[in-house]
């Protein structure tokens, strides 16, 4: 609430309002301004100096002052077409770093993107980006909470098949099982079968199916018993 009030005031004052200033955005903004510089070595220094906001956010030692200064106030100079192309290749690669999730991974990617200019200048290569095309995007509808077996909502899946992550028995030998998918199931009190598991949980493959009258059937692969269970988490 406070943040949105502050945001509103900034908007009214014609100042960009950032819901959250992202260091990588500040870095990219500064690195784009470096394009005023045509001289390749100076441009590279500017590019490195532009990384300062991300370094600062990660608690890393600051970039050299001269580099930072260049990024704050890049002097204009002509670039020959070849250098301009190399610059563009670096910036295109840097832009692709946005696919990365963590800030540290992003910064590593940013530095690695400078490889074409480093090569142009005969510098030792920095860390290389693997040139693997990005995997296809995973388009998810907003994650639906896993509600298989939980009472409140209509059931949409027929069964779960996975491994146990852990199991335990209470003093009445009623079992509670947590599966590797995070679901927790408890045997229904009064169920006629008794489980006698002794091996590590992960060695048991489990299948849970919908039974009649909103009940669930719990089976372990290799065993004939069918237990009645309820989902508890």
């Amino acid at each position: 609430m406070l943040r949105s009030c502050v945001c509103l005031l900034l908007v009214l004052a014609a100042v960009p309002c950032l819901a959250q200033i992202r260091p990588r955005d500040a870095v990219m903004s500064a690195s784009y301004r470096c394009s005023a510089i045509g001289a390749p070595r100076q441009w590279l220094d500017c590019y490195y100096g532009a990384a300062q906001p991300a370094r600062s956010a990660l608690g890393l030692p600051p970039a050299p002052q001269a580099q930072v200064q260049l990024s704050l106030s890049p002097p204009a100079s002509e670039a020959n077409p070849h250098i301009a192309q190399v610059r563009e290749a670096v910036m295109a690669a840097a832009l692709r770093c946005y696919a990365g999730e963590s800030d540290r991974a992003w910064l590593d990617c940013y530095y690695a993107s400078a490889a074409p200019m480093r090569g142009e200048l005969g510098l030792a290569p920095g860390p290389q980006l693997a040139s693997v095309p990005p995997p296809a995007p995973i388009l998810q509808a907003p994650p639906q909470p896993d509600r298989f077996g939980l009472k409140e909502l209509p059931v949409t899946r027929d069964h779960v098949a996975t491994h146990m992550a852990s199991y335990s028995f209470d003093r009445n030998h009623i079992f509670t099982v947590t599966l590797t998918n995070g679901q927790t199931w408890r045997q229904v009190s009064g169920d006629t079968h008794t489980a006698h598991w002794t091996r590590p949980a992960s060695t048991y493959t489990v299948k849970i199916t919908r039974g009649s009258f909103s009940s669930y059937n719990f089976q372990v692969e290799g065993s004939p018993e069918i237990y009645k269970v309820d989902r508890v988490g």
């Binding site: 945001c7 509103l8 908007v11 009214l12 014609a14 100042v15 960009p16 309002c17 950032l18 819901a19 959250q20 200033i21 992202r22 955005d25 500040a26 990219m28 903004s29 784009y32 563009e88 910036m91 295109a92 832009l95 692709r96 770093c97 946005y98 696919a99 990005p134 995997p135 296809a136 995007p137 995973i138 388009l139 998810q140 509808a141 907003p142 994650p143």
Partner: protein
């Protein structure tokens, strides 16, 4: 002045004052009620001081009286009742309309009396109203208290702003804003400059397809042989209300879709599943208003400009707001052009900046795509002392209004120039504007700006001293013929222009519909000259204008079909009689056999006419042309069709839920080609003229949606 003349003038003044002193046929109570009704229903368009703007005519002052002095109060009542509120005429009760008439008359100096106004009262307006606007009206009345979905902007809201729409503003009832669905898209591929410069086949990354504004897709899976098998794949109902005039973008299998009410959605482009939605808001500031004609993707963000002239950046993976920047500090400024992403900058236009006094003027501006900080601004009005500043007839700067930019520009990466069209100077009529015969640069112009600095490289004024709401603001299309680099455009007057885009030099032009406004054209510069009666216009004179403000051409963009060098243009055909205050009556264009819609194709190398078809209903979408040699277009009468680009013959058509309006696009997912188009309502003349003139064409006043088509599997 001689004594006799002075006496005569004084007598005239006294007589007028005497006439205005005669009590008018309305009561003070009615006028008071009318003030409240005005604030609630009319102010958002006609302004707090009744001065109007654009299509919303002035309701007080000399312009109003010049138009209405010889007409009666009954005619005023009937006109308001039959045409207002815009988009929902006749929806208020009779008592409210009567009170509005009372308020308007009072705002023109009429004095209330003992008799209540009724629709039957037919008193000549000149006998009761002098056009003298009371000071409190001149200062602007206060907006009515109304529930707001978003806090009101600060500043001079009383001068420029207005209350949010009332319940009659379309069917849209969105009242809550914010992010409704948060996305979690993994492996989103950031959009790079290289991708925008050479868009990958199968994606639609820029509003008009590419930086050159071709609205063309190379995809050819759907072609002239199989298009008759095209099938609906999915439909997505969109927000109702506002003006639906948008182009989706498709990248990485994700469709980004702007809705009215300043809402952005991300959908799975194959299945239509919603991935995220952010109702950034606010609600449209007035009924049926606020197209979002383009959005942009760059890096990992989606960009759009809210109709309230605030630029927003959203995270493309989640839909969360990353930053917002106001385009202007002046309340009441708007944006309908949408945005263009160019090399780390977001470039956008501005509207709602046509009021006088002109605070800040209209401009094109650019922002850092990462942070939202403004990088440059180009004011589209030549001010005193600037180059071409002498083209406004000596008007002081604060009276130099207009030259809005309500269509996104084009970009030439090799020349690093961005090309935009500007609207006309305000008010429309030069006799009211006071600019004499001045060209009013850079209104009605193509402006070529350095994309890095916003500096003007050249401009070309297509309609010097424009006077009839015939702006030249629409898409600029970049086409090369060998080494010749050209920019083509077509404005409301229906003249197709071809310029050298390096220098702005005139190359050629051709009329595409009947026009009677321009009488001649300089053979070297191409500068057109209005016919004499337009040059000599008087405020109380009705002038014929063919085309009228529907055009000719309007925002519905043409498509350049590159393989055949054909420019395929959606055109409208209607004329108006226009009075000095902007009042219009509409009539069908001569020689069109009552057809308001035309689709024409021209070869751009020599402007040779290729083919043309006419139909009763105008076309309300841009044209999409494809590598399958098809051109897709939709019309007012709900039809979406595909024609053969070589002959114009219709090969497939389908009837949708309501008027087909927007910008159709094509994309490919998993090897399958899709074509998508929106249905929509809202907007100005392109909807208003057919609504009024097509007496037998009916379409529902709701049903804004996105439709997606493809061939059945195996075809």
């Amino acid at each position: 002045m001689s004594l006799m003349a002075l006496l005569a003038a004084s007598a005239g003044l006294f007589a007028r004052a005497g006439m205005a002193q005669a009590p008018a046929p309305f009561t003070a109570l009615q006028a008071e009620a009318g003030r409240t009704a005005y604030a609630a229903n009319c102010m958002s368009c006609h302004q707090a001081n009744l001065a109007g703007e654009g299509d919303a005519l002035p309701l007080a002052g000399k312009t109003f009286v010049a138009a209405w002095s010889n007409r009666t109060t009954a005619e005023l009542y009937n006109t308001i009742r039959s045409s207002m509120p815009y988009g929902n005429p006749g929806s208020l009760d009779a008592k409210t309309y009567a009170s509005l008439v009372a308020f308007i008359l009072q705002s023109n100096g009429a004095k209330p009396g003992a008799t209540e106004f009724t629709p039957a009262s037919a008193v000549k307006i000149s006998t009761i109203a002098s056009g003298s606007v009371p000071p409190d009206i001149q200062r602007g009345i206060k907006p009515a208290q109304a529930a707001t979905a978003r806090p009101a902007r600060g500043g001079n809201a009383a001068d420029y702003g207005g209350p949010p729409p009332n319940a009659d503003n379309g069917a849209g009832m969105i009242r809550s804003f914010g992010q409704t669905v948060v996305g979690s898209i993994k492996n989103y591929e950031p959009v790079t400059d290289a991708m925008l410069t050479n868009p990958p086949e199968g994606e639609w990354l820029v509003g008009r397809g590419n930086y050159a504004n071709w609205s063309y897709s190379t995809l050819n899976q759907i072609d002239t042989a199989n298009v008759h098998d095209l099938q609906l794949q999915w439909v997505w109902a969109m927000n109702e209300g506002g003006a639906n005039e948008t182009a989706p973008l498709v990248h990485n299998g994700i469709m980004f879709l702007g809705n009215t009410y300043n809402t952005i959605q991300a959908l799975d482009a194959k299945t239509g599943e919603l991935l995220w939605e952010n109702r950034v808001g606010p609600a449209p500031s007035r009924p049926n208003y606020g197209g979002m004609r383009s959005i942009a993707v760059w890096g990992d963000k989606v960009y759009f400009a809210g109709n309230d002239a605030v630029l927003h950046a959203l995270d493309a993976k989640t839909g969360k707001l990353v930053w917002s920047t106001p385009l202007s500090e002046v309340p009441g400024h708007n944006n309908t052009s949408g945005v263009l992403a160019v090399r780390g900058k977001i470039i956008t236009g501005l509207t709602g900046c046509g009021r006088i006094p002109a605070k800040d003027h209209c401009y094109i501006s650019a922002y850092d795509a990462q942070t939202g900080k403004q990088i440059w601004k180009f004011v589209t009005v030549a001010l005193t002392g600037q180059p071409n500043g002498d083209s406004w007839g000596g008007l002081p700067d604060e009276k130099r209004a207009g030259a809005e930019t309500w269509i996104q520009g084009a970009f030439d990466p090799a020349l690093n120039l961005t090309y935009w069209g500007t609207a006309q100077a305000k008010p429309w009529r030069r006799d009211l504007r006071g600019s004499g015969n001045g060209a009013t640069d850079y209104a009605n112009s193509t402006v070529a700006l350095d994309a890095d600095t916003g500096k003007l490289k050249w401009f070309y004024n297509h309609a010097p001293g424009e006077s009839l709401d015939l702006d030249e603001v629409f898409e600029r299309i970049l086409i090369d013929h060998g080494d010749a680099k050209t920019v083509m455009t077509i404005g409301k007057a229906g003249i197709l222009w071809k310029l050298d885009r390096n220098t702005g030099k005139f190359i050629d032009s051709r009329e595409t519909v009947y026009q009677n406004v321009m009488a001649s054209q300089n053979p070297v510069t191409g500068e057109p000259v209005y016919r004499k009666t337009i040059r000599d216009q008087k405020v109380d004179q009705w002038l014929s204008s063919c085309p009228g403000p529907e055009g000719g051409h309007d925002w519905q963009a043409a498509s350049y079909h590159q393989p055949t060098d054909a420019l395929i243009i959606p055109l409208s055909q209607s004329c108006v009689m226009m009075l000095g205050n902007g009042s219009q009556t509409y009539f069908e264009m001569p020689g069109t056999e009552r057809n308001m819609g035309r689709l024409s194709a021209y070869r751009t190398s020599d402007l040779k006419p290729l083919w043309s078809l006419q139909q009763r209903s105008p076309f309300l979408t841009g044209v999409l042309s494809t590598g399958g040699n098809l051109a897709f277009v939709g019309d007012y009468d709900r039809r979406f069709r595909a024609v053969d680009v070589k002959t114009g013959k219709t090969l497939w058509s389908v009837r949708l839920g309501t008027t087909v309006q927007g910008y159709p696009i094509a994309f490919r997912i998993d090897g399958k080609q899709y074509v998508a188009v929106t249905t929509g309502l809202g907007g100005g003349s392109p909807q208003d003229k057919p609504m009024t003139m097509l007496q037998k064409v009916h379409r529902p006043n709701n049903g804004q949606a996105l439709y997606v088509f493809a061939l059945p599997d195996g075809k």
